[in-house]
């Protein structure tokens, strides 16, 4: 297929996934902020969505203070913020529009109507509907898009590039969500393992729809070690790093060309490390340090995919 088409399909999927992830991050932050705690700490928590999407610097340029109201508006509706849900939905739709002939009408219609509805969304919708309900809507639209894709798309290269975009972006996003905890400080060392800590980890699990799965897998209390194991190393968790890299590696093997050899190798290497990895070693290194390293390598993988397929 055309390199340009493949590029658009890949980014279309990435932006859908990114919009969903932003919704998940905002939702988890919002839930954490509802915990009974000091006002100063609540304020701290709203740094997290900005930090993990790399938006703190531009945000500070136009806002004097970090707070729930402004961060939500900036991350949801601000067209000037490239990682806002608004911008992601627009970018997904623009990419889809460029390759309309290569996606099914149902896929196009989901992205187009999502964008149209979002254009009509005002701040008052956020206020009247509530943050959680809005975030649920974004997630639903993303689920719908993937469902429609799986249910209608021909299993050709277009499908593979679309799926590749989904899993590369999801690996990146899960790593970032897991890192939220690093950016959210606990009041004091004694609170580690306390009620606030518990609720925060539970919120992380819920944000990636993994709370029930955690209970099923471990049948035990929530500990950071296990949360990390579930979201990094379990290959049966659909949003874990291991599962995402497994999918991405599988797709890249199908698409492999001589020029894309390095992309295939990198994905294989990342997958193998996750496949044979141990959570204790990750914690010895430091969870935040591990996740930062992982994110760098996913970025490199993205460049190799670009080089391998899109710049022929």
């Amino acid at each position: 297929m055309l390199s340009r088409t493949a590029n658009h399909l890949y980014w279309m999927a990435r932006y859908v996934e990114r919009a969903e992830s932003t919704a998940r991050i905002l939702d988890v932050t919002y839930r954490m902020s509802l915990m009974p705690q000091a006002a100063e700490l609540v304020k701290q928590e709203w740094y997290a969505p900005l930090n993990i999407s790399g938006a703190l610097f531009p945000f500070s340029g136009s806002h004097s203070e970090v707070g729930a109201h402004d961060v939500l508006r900036y991350m949801v509706l601000d067209p000037g913020n490239p990682s806002s849900i608004y911008s992601c939905a627009r970018a997904a739709r623009e990419n889809a529009r460029a390759v309309r002939g290569n996606i099914t009408s149902e896929m196009w219609e989901v992205l187009n109507s999502t964008w149209l509805e979002l254009q009509d969304t005002s701040e008052s919708r956020l206020d009247s509907e509530g943050v959680s309900q809005f975030c649920d809507w974004v997630k639903e639209r993303s689920h719908l898009f993937r469902g429609v894709t799986v249910g209608t798309a021909l299993r050709d290269q277009a499908f593979q590039f679309n799926r590749l975009g989904t899993f590369v972006e999801r690996a990146d996003n899960t790593a970032r969500i897991l890192d939220v905890k690093y950016h959210v400080l606990l009041p004091s060392v004694e609170d580690v393992g306390g009620a606030v800590d518990y609720y925060q980890w539970a919120a992380v699990l819920r944000s990636v729809s993994a709370f029930e799965s955690y209970r099923k897998v471990y049948r035990d209390i929530i500990t950071p070690l296990r949360v990390a194991e579930l979201l990094i190393l379990r290959d049966d968790m659909p949003r874990s790093l291991h599962a995402c890299m497994g999918e991405a590696y599988g797709i890249l093997q199908l698409l492999a060309t001589a020029q894309a050899a390095e992309a295939v190798r990198l994905a294989g290497e990342l997958h193998a490390e996750l496949h044979f990895g141990q959570v204790e070693r990750i914690f010895n290194l430091g969870l935040h340090e591990y996740l930062t390293g992982f994110l760098d390598r996913v970025t490199t993988l993205g460049s190799e995919i670009n080089h391998g397929f899109f710049t022929v």
Partner: protein, 486 residues
């Protein structure tokens, strides 16, 4: 049947009688023409409320599907819907048969003309058209001279605009032989109507149009360079900010071919390739929706970033087919239009089946004097304009507008033509007040390959403003489904 109460809620039919122009639905005595009877019955027994819902549903569906067009000059490149009217334009099959024959005849003659002027130029030698009209035309491409295109076909896809005047007689208003657009609306309008009023399709025989993409693909494959057995066809678009991008994407998808931009193609060793994830793939036929000037920066405009460097030399070497061919613009130029009936007589030895609109060429002194003296009665157009831009409609223009236009004409009379203001036929159309007559025209799409074929009907465009004669979508026109009913 509806109850008495709901009968009062029927749509308001305003100003339907006593017009000077031909009404497609009603005779002069106010009676419904037979081919509109089924629609009239349906209108009588469907409450206005339900029709209102349908119109809303249509609007919503078109928006969701994204059938939009971009408007030139609109800041921010806004996408708009072309208004869709749910009352169809209906043509009896017997009438269509005659139009079909007339269109076939006209497009055959136009293709023979193009072949002739790029070869022996018999028609010029015979004195049937002035030499400077052809060779001095800005659209004449000297680089095409002596070059044989596959099958001798130049205008593979032609959009011929038809209008109907006072007594109901048809005229050809203009020929579009470069990159005519609008066929996607013909197809989407039909899909919409079958969804909205399936009962009307069940009640009468309406000729189908949905096979147009198959006819198009068939034709494109048939004109591949000699010796290519399983040709790869692509559609070349200027990109997603072009006004007709929706149509390009739509047609590529319907035909299952790649939609490419200039940067996706390159020429190597005289052949054209597209850049794919699996490496370069050869291309044999290009259905191009880019104007001649932008096709190849090496051959035409060097500042074009839309085109493919080296494409024209590959074309001239016979390695790739372009549809339409380069240089068709000379045959659909408004100053050449008056000679089309002569072309039909010269090449086919036949009389034109569909007439031309009488046309004054302002480069002729007599014509110029007449037109300047009758500006308030005539329509004056630029010979090379398109899309309804830059024309003067004498009867509705203000005195000031006419004076300004007079000055433009006097500066360069040869750039203008004039035609009588035809009382274009009207078709009942939904407007704010209810149903009212609005002027329409019809663009059938004629495909030329081994044979000349078309689907019955075409795109009906409607001028939504009361009294307006401008049907172009860029000027506030809408569309209707077109039914050929047997």
């Amino acid at each position: 049947m509806q109850s008495g109460a709901s009968r009062t809620a029927h749509v308001n039919v305003v100003q339907m009688r006593a017009e000077p122009c031909f009404n497609e639905m009603y005779g002069l005595d106010g009676s419904v023409r037979p081919h509109y009877q089924a629609l009239a019955d349906w209108l009588t027994c469907t409450p206005a409320e339900r029709i209102g819902q349908m119109r809303e549903a249509a609007q919503m569906l078109f928006h969701r599907v994204g059938i939009t067009f971009a408007v030139y000059g609109d800041e921010g490149g806004a996408e708009r819907l072309i208004p869709f009217d749910i009352l169809p334009h209906i043509i009896p099959l017997s009438e269509w048969r005659k139009l079909h024959a007339g269109l076939k005849q006209r497009v055959r003659a136009l293709n023979l003309f193009l072949h002739d002027i790029y070869h022996a130029q018999e028609i010029i030698k015979a004195g049937r058209i002035p030499e400077r009209k052809v060779l001095g035309n800005a659209q004449y491409r000297a680089e095409m001279h002596g070059f044989d295109v596959p099958g001798g076909i130049y205008a593979h896809i032609a959009g011929i605009d038809l209008v109907r005047a006072g007594a109901g007689e048809y005229y050809v208003l203009e020929d579009n032989l470069r990159t005519p657009s609008g066929v996607s609306y013909m197809l989407e309008d039909r899909k919409m109507m079958m969804r909205l009023v399936p009962e009307l399709f069940a009640r009468q025989h309406i000729e189908p149009v949905e096979h147009y993409p198959d006819l198009l693909l068939d034709m494109l494959r048939s004109v591949a360079p000699q010796g290519v057995h399983n040709p790869t066809v692509v559609l070349l678009t200027p990109g997603q900010f072009n006004a007709a991008y929706f149509e390009h994407a739509f047609l590529a998808q319907q035909m299952g071919i790649e939609l490419v931009e200039g940067a996706d193609l390159f020429v190597k060793d005289g052949s054209v390739y597209m850049r794919t994830t699996g490496g370069p793939q050869p291309v044999d036929v290009i259905y191009r929706r880019i104007d001649d000037d932008f096709l190849d920066p090496r051959a035409f405009r060097s500042d074009s970033i839309l085109g493919v460097p080296g494409l024209v030399s590959a074309y001239r070497a016979g390695r790739v087919t372009l549809a339409n061919a380069i240089g068709t613009g000379v045959a659909d130029d408004k100053s050449v239009y008056p000679y089309v009936p002569e072309m039909i007589r010269f090449y086919l030895g036949e009389e034109p089946i569909i007439a031309n609109v009488p046309t004054w060429l302002l480069e002729r002194e007599d014509d110029l004097a007449y037109v300047l003296a009758h500006l308030d009665e005539l329509v004056v157009k630029e010979a090379q304009g398109s899309g309804g831009y830059g024309m003067l409609i004498g009867p509705t223009a203000s005195a000031h507008e006419r004076e300004a236009y007079r000055e433009r004409i006097l500066e360069a009379p040869h750039k203008f033509i004039a035609q009588p203001t035809l009382a274009l036929s009207t078709c009942p159309t939904f407007v704010a007040q209810g149903i009212a007559p609005r002027h329409i025209d019809l663009r059938p799409f004629v495909l030329s390959g081994d044979d000349v074929v078309m689907v019955p009907g075409g795109l009906t465009r409607v001028a939504l403003k009361e009294g307006s004669l401008v049907v172009n979508s860029s000027q506030g026109g809408g569309t209707k489904d077109t039914w050929v009913v047997g």
